[in-house]
């Protein structure tokens, strides 16, 4: 059990998803909901030992598992976590519970399939974070697209088909280029698919640059970085609330995780060589996309653009190659998982009541929905990077790290604190404050216990990481130091 914890975390939700798919149809929706809640909570509880039994003093892989799988290609079923992947797995298991609760009544059709899709997604996402074999990683990485494709396509908004096919093809294109790079590494390493072997593999600069670009195609699309971000606003807007939450909170993190697990350690020289490109694209995302967010009239679209802008901080932090930057990027990923997830849930709460996401349809919500207004304001402030919330910690660390490299990077990045405050607070002002805009808004009921539960949990986490980020920072410390040491050394033969 102890030795197979990661396998259990991957396969339990997948098996549960298949079970729910088989057991539930429309008539047994209640059963499907309860099963989904039970299984996702069980997976979350099972994932807690990953944190409590985690050895923070070592950068080595922990909870490892290894079995032979495809001998002909030397592919192994190899799993393990370190300080980078472990927090992301916990984020995944936690948010899946939140999504299941949030989708309790919001999905009128095909409840069993909806719940099953999210559980299967959960298993696949954990698989991505835990894989130590490149093919296994790739398997989970792409398989994840299938449930998301169906989630957006079946339960999404009016323009869902365009959005979901765009989402699928965009990510598939990036992934397949990565596959070619992985196969190149397989041959270059003399027949190994072990990711850790790739970390030690010496490579000349030219192949490094090409491999870096192939990885970039896969990860930049996922993050998403400017200019390949255009799938995200479409996908986010059309996806059902749960889909948006998982997309923003977990799937975007896979891009950042990919950079940390593949690009930096496998192609360190190319990473240094092309850092200017990454930093430029990150700063464009941070500043330009923030301005784009300012112009949005749809709340979901605004949060989607805000996500791209915040993920720009992550890639900026990664490619300035110092501990503050990378740790800031990691904290930013986790914190963005909480905040963007919470904001999408807030929009979902409103959408369930009024079936509109347009800012113009709301106004003066503070009067009919005071508790909701409090939550929304808290998350909006966290999104704007208010000190004391988790949003501040990550952005502050990244800006601090950027200062050490080049003050102008820091200035440009800090601009977004202003823009971020502008677009979020302006949205809050229009939605929450002011005069009550219509009778329908005046009649809205405040959050119920279920909604209070998931918003409360996320609010507590946002504040906890904001006030006392140490428990989060110390688990990733050893891994990130080791990673940077590794990245600083040249791999040129």
């Amino acid at each position: 059990m102890e030795n197979h914890l990661l396998s259990l975390l991957i396969w339990l939700p997948i098996v549960a998803g298949i079970l729910i798919l088989g057991a539930g149809d429309q008539r047994r929706a209640a059963l499907a909901r309860k099963l989904a809640l039970g299984f996702s909570s069980a997976v979350f509880l099972l994932s807690v030992p990953l944190y409590t039994r985690f050895d923070t003093t070592t950068a080595a892989m922990q909870f490892g598992e290894r079995a032979r799988w495809i001998d002909a290609f030397n592919i192994h079923y190899a799993l393990g976590v370190d300080g980078i992947s472990m927090p992301l797995i916990l984020l995944t298991t936690l948010l899946t519970v939140v999504v299941v609760i949030a989708g309790w009544t919001a999905t009128p059709k095909r409840v069993a399939q909806y719940m099953a899709a999210f559980l299967i997604m959960e298993g696949l996402m954990i698989g991505v974070f835990a894989s130590l074999d490149a093919v296994l990683f790739y398997l989970f990485w792409e398989a994840m697209l299938i449930p998301m494709f169906l989630i957006i396509g079946i339960w999404g908004g009016p323009n869902r088909i365009y959005a979901t096919i765009k989402f699928f093809l965009y990510t598939l294109l990036g992934s397949l280029l990565m596959l070619v790079a992985l196969l190149y590494l397989y041959h270059a390493s003399g027949g190994s698919f072990s990711i850790l072997d790739y970390h030690r593999l010496p490579l000349a600069l030219a192949p490094q640059v090409l491999i870096f670009l192939a990885f970039f195609a896969a990860f930049a699309v996922k993050v998403p970085m400017f200019p390949v971000h255009t799938w995200l606003p479409d996908a986010h807007v059309e996806a059902p609330t749960g889909g948006s939450v998982i997309l923003a909170a977990v799937m975007l993190k896979m891009g950042g995780y990919g950079f940390l697990r593949f690009s930096l350690p496998v192609t360190p020289d190319a990473s240094h060589q092309l850092a200017w490109l990454m930093i430029t694209l990150s700063l464009i995302a941070v500043v330009y996309i923030a301005l784009v967010a300012l112009a949005q009239r749809d709340m979901k679209k605004l949060i989607a653009y805000s996500s791209i802008s915040h993920m720009g901080f992550v890639t900026l932090g990664l490619f300035i190659f110092n501990p503050r930057g990378v740790e800031g990027a990691m904290v930013q990923m986790i914190s963005h998982g909480f905040i963007s997830g919470a904001l999408f849930l807030c929009v979902g709460v409103l959408y369930d009541r009024l079936h509109s996401r347009m800012i113009a349809d709301y106004g003066g919500l503070a009067a009919p929905m005071p508790v909701f207004a409090a939550f929304m304001v808290l998350f909006a402030l966290a999104n704007a990077g208010l000190p004391g919330t988790s949003g501040f910690v990550g952005e502050f660390l990244v800006i601090l790290g950027a200062f050490q490299v080049n003050a102008w990077f820091a200035v440009a990045a800090a601009l977004t604190l202003i823009f971020g405050a502008a677009y979020t607070l302006w949205m809050v002002k229009r939605v929450i404050y002011g005069a009550v805009i219509s009778e329908r808004v005046a009649a809205l009921p405040d959050v119920n216990g279920r909604e209070m539960l998931f918003l409360g949990v996320l609010a507590a986490l946002v504040l906890w990481v904001g006030v006392w980020p140490n428990p989060l920072l110390e688990v990733m410390h050893a891994t990130i130091d080791n990673l940077l040491e590794h990245t600083a050394a040249s791999k040129l033969p």
Binding site: F149, G153, L173, Y186
Partner: protein, 492 residues
């Protein structure tokens, strides 16, 4: 020379299946003229049984220890590769018969004769799989093809089917004559029809790749094979034949003959002309790139499911050629694995079309799939798996098939070809996704309540098995790939 030296037992499966075909043919003539022959209904189960027994015989004939048995004065070779190919051909054809049983019955297609033709065609494929001589190769190929032409034409009242059969026959005959021409040049250059002797002769002469006659011979052979495979620009017959033929024949046509095509390509190019890889490798790369590109792009414009799957077949054949073009044992093994996986997927896809057909109505327009997930969720889910596998999305076997081919390309130093291949695979993913979109995201066109497709429990069961095996094989997929490696290592 005595009978023992011929080693007739090596051809036992072929002999058995030919006898079984004759027996079923006799069954067809037992009826009285003018009256329906009720015994003809037995033809299908008997043919399936014959195929299963043949598969068993081929399994028993599997050479121990990976050796090879040369029989009939080196006309015929019984090695592990032949064994594997024969078993898979028999099983694929048996499945195709089971899928098409109700379809053929509903349309009153030739009952006994259809299955007799099918069995003879399988016999031809099996001869091809075991050919080590140009003569055997050609005979097997013609036996297979002639039966297929007739199977395409067996829907006599259908103009589409007649047209398709005509095209298939004329182009197939043209390809055969080109192949013969290429073979005669090879004979002239090497003085032998035996593939191992040809290979040795070409090697001994240290064949000069600039030799015009040699290059011409290779060009003729490659063109003929490209015709048979349906690789661009020799693919014109594929969509018409797939579309026009009765769906039961299309299902038959889309699976086992592809495996046979692999056998021809391997025995002829990798076997006989293996040392001329320098000449045919670049030709195959061009054919493969064109096939994947044209197949995938044109498939997007199709409104007919069978036609779309035909173009998809063209693109899959391109992928299959990529593996051969790698020119290494690794590449051949990847191609073998690819073609086996493809045959199973393609059979499943056409099997689904057959399962969805009702009475006289076909279900082959894309719009017929609209909202299928409401009408018959199980079939829709199975088609979903098949489509994802065809698109090469993990965790399906189709992904591993693409992985091994791309891996072989990268291993052979053709990294840029691999990049082109994956870019085109993205284009291909679009039309498979469109099927999923039609089934899952669209509402049914008619508001009629759920009508389950006409009952044919064995075929539906087979479809479920066929689709689920594509995912369920995953833990053991390594063993399958190793098996492919082993049989190729024994054959090349």
């Amino acid at each position: 020379m005595n009978l023992a030296s011929l080693r007739v037992t090596a051809a036992l499966p072929e002999i058995f299946i030919a006898l079984a075909a004759c027996a079923i043919l006799l069954l067809g003539v037992t009826g009285k003229p003018g009256k329906p022959n009720h015994r003809a209904a037995l033809a299908c189960p008997l043919a399936i049984a014959a195929l299963l027994v043949t598969a068993l015989l081929a399994g028993l004939n599997f050479p121990a220890g990976g050796g090879a048995v040369a029989a009939f004065n080196n006309l015929f070779i019984g090695d592990a590769l032949a064994g594997l190919l024969k078993i898979s051909m028999c099983l694929l054809c048996a499945a195709a018969f089971l899928y098409g049983r109700r379809y053929n019955r509903d349309r009153g297609l030739l009952t006994c004769e259809y299955y007799v033709l099918g069995l003879f065609s399988v016999a031809g494929m099996m001869v091809v799989a075991s050919a080590s001589h140009l003569l055997t190769l050609y005979l097997g190929l013609e036996l297979m093809s002639l039966c297929l032409y007739a199977m395409v034409a067996c829907h006599r009242d259908s103009r589409l089917a007649s047209e398709a059969a005509m095209k298939y026959f004329v182009l197939g005959a043209l390809a055969s004559s080109i192949l013969l021409y290429g073979m005669s040049l090879l004979y002239g250059l090497t003085g032998s029809l035996e593939l191992p002797v040809i290979r040795a002769a070409l090697f001994a002469e240290a064949a000069d790749p600039d030799d015009a006659a040699l290059a011409l011979a290779v060009v003729f052979v490659v063109v003929a094979l490209a015709f048979k495979l349906g690789a661009v620009p020799f693919h014109m017959w594929v969509p018409d034949v797939y579309h026009g033929a009765p769906t039961s024949t299309t299902a038959f046509l889309s699976a086992a003959p592809k495996v046979a095509a692999f056998a021809i390509v391997l025995r002829l190019l990798a076997g006989g002309l293996g040392d001329l890889a320098g000449i045919w490798q670049s030709m195959l790369v061009i054919l493969a790139v064109l096939s994947v590109a044209a197949g995938n792009i044109i498939a997007i414009a199709q409104h007919n499911l069978k036609r779309m799957l035909a173009y998809s077949a063209v693109s899959h054949m391109g992928f299959f050629l990529f593996g051969i073009a790698a020119g290494s044992a690794q590449g051949y093994s990847a191609s073998l694995f690819y073609v086996l996986v493809y045959a199973v997927m393609s059979l499943g896809a056409f099997g689904a079309v057959l399962c969805l057909a009702r009475g006289d109505a076909e279900c082959d327009r894309l719009d017929d799939l609209q909202g299928l997930s409401r009408r018959s969720p199980r079939t829709a889910f199975l088609i979903l798996i098949l489509m994802l596998s065809m698109a090469g999305i993990p965790p399906t076997a189709g992904f591993f098939a693409k992985l091994s081919v791309i891996q072989a390309l990268v291993g052979a130093g053709l990294v840029w070809v691999a990049v082109v291949a994956v870019l085109l695979a993205v284009v291909g993913a679009f039309y498979y996704l469109r099927i999923i979109k039609l089934m899952y995201f669209d509402d049914p066109a008619d508001a009629s309540p759920a009508t389950p497709p006409a009952g044919d429990p064995p075929a539906h069961l087979l479809l479920a098995f066929n689709a689920l095996i594509i995912i369920a094989i995953l833990p053991w997929i390594g063993a399958l790939i190793s098996l492919c490696n082993a049989v190729i290592a024994g054959a090349v």
